[in-house]
């Protein structure tokens, strides 16, 4: 007992489930204009970014989250040149996008400039210089408004936002209205990808509803999941498109595209991983068939 850690970060995963990490340091603790921000150091997961009390990423396993979010749509596309990122202030999504040699232009819109600055200062391993890349245009405005106004089309759009909580406006980016507007911002072979919350069985409602809602705008929706230890279990994602289905790529083709297009070693994603993450367990597929919810502006979805 005497050796037990004394200082702990805790997070409500659900009202009935708490996850606690021991912490060795509180590196930063403050408020931006939009949210509370903490950077903590932990023996189990390394440095972690906490926004509004919820863990966003840890040094030890952020590679899983960011490779899982970025590479399935990028590899499914035959040769993505233009990419839009909504959110992603840590810079790690940008880092993975820029590893694709076909990419010529990335527009990244994250409203909270201070989070971007804090991550560059305290968590530089996340962006690894990505913000200095000449292909990047970084804007601190409302991503929803930007997408409505822009005349530009993108090959891949990546929505890398915090969960839709009641307090914040991010819920608008999880609605049918948003997805239907978004499809006109894609090039013909364009894809979007997003995270859709925990798929630990008892709280997977976001995962299925988001997939349903994507289905009102896109003819192909491919949900997938992977374990992210610091998130306390498996996490859901989805790729959506009018033409391209990532589930049709064989492992060998995925590996071939990785080696010809990506200029660094990946740790999480390859052909077998690709096959695994799209092979959802039966209970999740059945839940997806049962659940008919569509998320709209009038009937939004909020997570815990």
């Amino acid at each position: 007992m005497k050796k037990m850690s004394a200082n702990w970060f805790w997070e409500f995963v659900t009202p009935h489930l708490i996850q606690q990490f021991s912490i060795s340091d509180i590196i930063y603790n403050g408020m931006t204009k939009y949210q509370s921000v903490q950077v903590i150091d932990t023996p189990g997961f390394g440095k972690c970014l906490i926004l509004d009390g919820k863990i966003q990423c840890s040094e030890s396993d952020e590679f899983i989250y960011h490779e899982a979010l970025v590479h399935p749509p990028m590899i499914t596309h035959p040769g993505p040149e233009t990419v839009f990122i909504a959110g992603g202030g840590e810079g790690a999504t940008l880092r993975e996008v820029l590893a694709h040699s076909s990419v010529k232009r990335v527009v990244m819109v994250d409203i909270d400039r201070q989070v971007v600055d804090l991550c560059r200062k305290y968590l530089p391993s996340l962006s690894q210089g990505a913000f200095e890349d000449g292909r990047v245009e970084l804007l601190h405005v409302d991503a929803l408004k930007y997408l409505e106004d822009t005349k530009e089309n993108f090959d891949v759009v990546i929505i890398d936002l915090t969960e839709p909580l009641e307090e914040g406006p991010s819920y608008l980016l999880y609605t049918r209205e948003f997805y239907q507007g978004l499809k006109d911002k894609l090039t013909p072979d364009g894809l979007i990808a997003l995270q859709s919350g925990s798929t630990s069985m008892i709280i997977a409602f976001g995962f299925t509803a988001v997939a349903n809602t994507l289905g009102t705008a896109f003819s192909i929706v491919a949900p997938y999941q992977t374990e992210i230890p610091s998130f306390g279990g498996t996490w859901g994602f989805a790729v959506a498109s009018q033409n391209l289905d990532p589930r049709e790529l064989l492992p060998e083709e995925v590996d071939r595209r990785i080696s010809s297009r990506i200029n660094k070693d990946l740790r999480f994603y390859d052909g077998i991983t690709h096959r695994g993450i799209f092979s959802l367990p039966k209970y999740l597929r059945e839940e997806m068939n049962r659940d008919k919810r569509i998320i709209t502006r009038d009937q939004p979805l909020f997570t815990y």
Copy 2:
């Protein structure tokens, strides 16, 4: 704050990670001759069995654990008739085994009679009458000793034990010596299956070492994993055999065998699930290549 749950079960997943469930009732709280036993009721996971302070299964997701442990080896075998179960006192592993219509005889050895009785009384949904099945021989002796002494051979052996902790003797069933003795207890096409602990990245050492150690006795070792929410993340398993590799079964063949052999609806396991659980992410496969540890009686492995 006022609505927050007041009563919580907590478990150290690692020395630096705690998982807490809210609890609505403590149904049983006592000691057997071998271990402490609790049956608690929880809003998040239903009733849970706790042995020596560690969760063994919850009503809400035990189907994942037990289907994942039983069906991969049983389906990979062309027609299993005799099965040996070490441990498995809850009766749910037995329940899944008996669902295979080819099974003619099951020997189940769990040293702790009281746990079996407590589970039948307080958690009857786990065994669902399996102990009354005429094909079952249930013994409360030392499984290790029983296997050493028996002259019988089995088509499938399932090791369903608690984690190897320093205090208990179960660590002996995770050693090279045990696996080498075990291979002579199998029929020519025989398989064994076991759980090998958490595969949440930061504590996966058991998973890789167990697979290595199986490799000293069996020519084919197929590790796999699946999310089990109440265990706090992904959990590892392995199937081992001299002749049969579950990774060679296509989803369609798995589904065909399920429908011809299993006389109930499965919730977790089918062909796509089978493909998914054996498609480990790249970082786990690489860790498996790096790790050379072999577990022996002289150099045993203990989990937290």
Copy 3:
């Protein structure tokens, strides 16, 4: 680590301070018409009553709370015959009142009949048969309304209510308006006593404000405190009266009155205890001088 208790009750003492007890059983867990009720068993404090998530009393130290609430006003009075109790559903305040041989009539008003019944069933050591005493009239109506309507006068009035939280109506019994009405319900030498919340330094605001507010109706106000372990620190009380000051009683006189009037052994209260509980530390007396707040219906006080 392995021997650590697995099940815990926790309570927010303040937003920044949590107290956790290990629990061995949840004996009762339900809702009455007015509040949530739990009876839990704990290795440290025995059985505990929890209302709306806050501990009300524990078997191990309820004698401190109830002797501290009842005997200072009863012993200060020259010979109390009639007593009114607001709240006190556990029956332990009633038990202590009835130990005074001078008492002829007790009116106890607790609106929540179910709490009274649950305590008689699950915590019988609290009332010890007090509800069967022929001197007692027990009513389940609104205590505030009853006191407004009654024409009866009492020698001692004891307010034994939960803390004034925003949700409930008990805050009305902590206001100037209530105390000014109450003074007309007392006999000329009458006294009132009440609990006034934690006096652990950082959250003593209730203690001083309640004393101030009593001072608007009564010429003598004597605040006091004692440690109550299961409450997580020292707890405040006050006696108020127009004529009698408990601080003028010497220890010897307290002991003399106890032996001539109380027909059982006390565990907490005697002459030296009396002197100690009214001898507040300097910082509390100074805070009392500084604080000028008066609690009114328009400016009520809510505790955490």
Copy 4:
């Protein structure tokens, strides 16, 4: 829920009771040669010093602990000139001793130089320059050995050590053998004072056993207690002497001595406080009568 603090310090008060503070910063986190040291900042208690996982003092209420430890023996003595302090690395005990104008020489022995240095750096409000006072001799050696070897006698000896845990040698300073050696190091009117652990009812065993053990060496032993919020309840102390009994000082005499001898304002201690802290509640006095334990080197006492 969303506003709940995310980072917490927790301490086992007993195996069945945990106290958690929310923390806003971890200012220092390291190991000295003798113990682990943390300086944390908390919204509830200000900055806190943690040694080996146990809170030693908080900025918000250290004045209670240090005034309670120092002034009762110093004021009971007719004019203390020489003082020995064992432990007390924070410098706050020294600060209170030096406030007595009669003091000419203080020998302070704390084996852990690093703790002294860390407190001067991170918690300067504790020592407030005391270490620079010309009357002070500060040594970093074993206090037990120093006292055995010294030929010097002292008017007041203050033992300001951490609790006696099994791991450390401080338990030797809580034994009959130590107290019997110590009495020869005092001047004829000399007194010693020490802290003796929690007096929250359920874990007061140290308090009574220490008082008993002091009684084998000193003819007068005066135990006392006071609430220390950050310690989670009331805390025990004792003054021992051959000639002088603090309980015989009337409040007025205490106040007279304070004003003539102490050159600063006290926040906790005065005449009424003095009377209150020595007026123990009946159950503690009765426990003291019941308990016959004597602590010896062969039968030491360890706290949790």
